[in-house]
Symmetry: C2
Subunit: 216 residues, 2 copies
């Protein structure tokens, strides 16, 4: 009997060790959450108008997506019903100015922004931007950001998704639920991160420490 | 053949008419949506401290739940990190003061409120309330409201749910998804209405005209 027990114990240890090794080699990828407040991206032309000719943005904090940063600069956003002060500019400058609002800003500003992916600005409303050196009236570029996940081709392989795929996210806890229509964005220069805005995060009781799960 | 065709046509018309009649007799019940901003309910004692001895609330708008109303009165809510002005008082007075915040207010006030049903206040944090005639420091009573649906026993029979049941709501559209952990509240004095806060409504692109669907 002693012999059997020893063999059994040795086999169980081997199985346990093998499982541990496998887990170390393939750790489960969790998706970090980036929570966005309202913000805007500026073209160099609009930056010049708002902050002065030839102005350069002042980075104060790197964002998780490589090369993207929050800036010292803020502007006032004005709609027909009201305005919102100190809206943060994100850098670097882009070909076209883009204002990303929260759903609730509709009521403060009197501007109803459609849900769009970044850069998809055709037919979106305009708004007035006021900076320390001038005012810019943009004719389009106001959106509410569509939920999305940034990832590299390697992450996409892991999650078995492709650029442009629409996935669903599931959340546990007191404010459990799911978000559908979440678009996958795959580029070599991405860092794995799910982007929701603060209203979406609060509605599901999520924080910047929450880890996100794709369910289909 | 003419005879058969006529009989078939007559039968089809009868079937169609019967279906129309049935639909008219049992129209599908949709659940209206009530969207709450942060607000508070006051005890008479706390009302006296904030607005003066023997003060009576001034109703300005009936709410959908019978006997409930929004008041002219507002207070300032102060936490260790900041304050929020002009928070609406809802009437009538209640046995215990209750402050219902939005998830995002945590960061403004420095008070982290748990998700609770109205009245379930044991162990919740306190906060400071400032009115025109005085200040009240409540020791407990600050919550984020749990998603819930008010209905009558007749509605509950229609939806095949009971008081206290937990259901899931599903939403279509650009910001589609679902909310779980939605509690059903059945009383004779209810009006059929689903209560979400403005962050939950915005996260799913809902408005006060949205109609809500229970999926289980």
């Amino acid at each position: 009997m002693k012999g059997y027990e020893e063999i059994l114990k040795a086999l169980m240890e081997m199985a346990y060790e093998q499982e541990s090794l496998r887990k170390k080699q393939e750790p489960e990828l969790k998706i970090p959450l980036g929570i966005s407040n309202r913000h805007l991206h500026l073209s160099q032309k609009d930056l010049d108008c708002l902050f002065g000719s030839g102005y350069s943005l002042t980075p104060i904090k790197d964002l998780s997506q490589p090369g993207q940063y929050a800036c010292k600069e803020t502007v006032t956003i004005c709609g027909p019903k009201g305005s919102i002060e100190k809206v943060r500019v994100l850098g670097p400058v882009r070909p076209q100015t883009q204002v990303e609002l929260l759903g609730g800003d509709h009521f403060k500003l009197g501007v109803k922004a459609p849900v769009r992916m970044s850069g998809d600005l055709a037919g979106t409303p305009g708004i007035t931007l006021v900076g320390p050196k001038g005012t810019v009236v943009i004719q389009e570029g106001v959106i509410v950001a569509q939920r999305h996940i940034h990832m590299t081709p390697k992450d996409a392989e892991y999650f078995q998704v492709q650029d442009g795929d629409i996935v669903e996210l599931e959340f546990e806890g007191e404010r459990a639920g799911s978000y559908r229509n979440v678009i996958v964005r795959v580029t070599d220069a991405s860092a794995l991160e799910c982007h929701l805005d603060i209203e979406e995060a609060n509605a599901m009781n999520l924080t910047s420490l929450s880890l996100i799960k794709i369910i289909n």
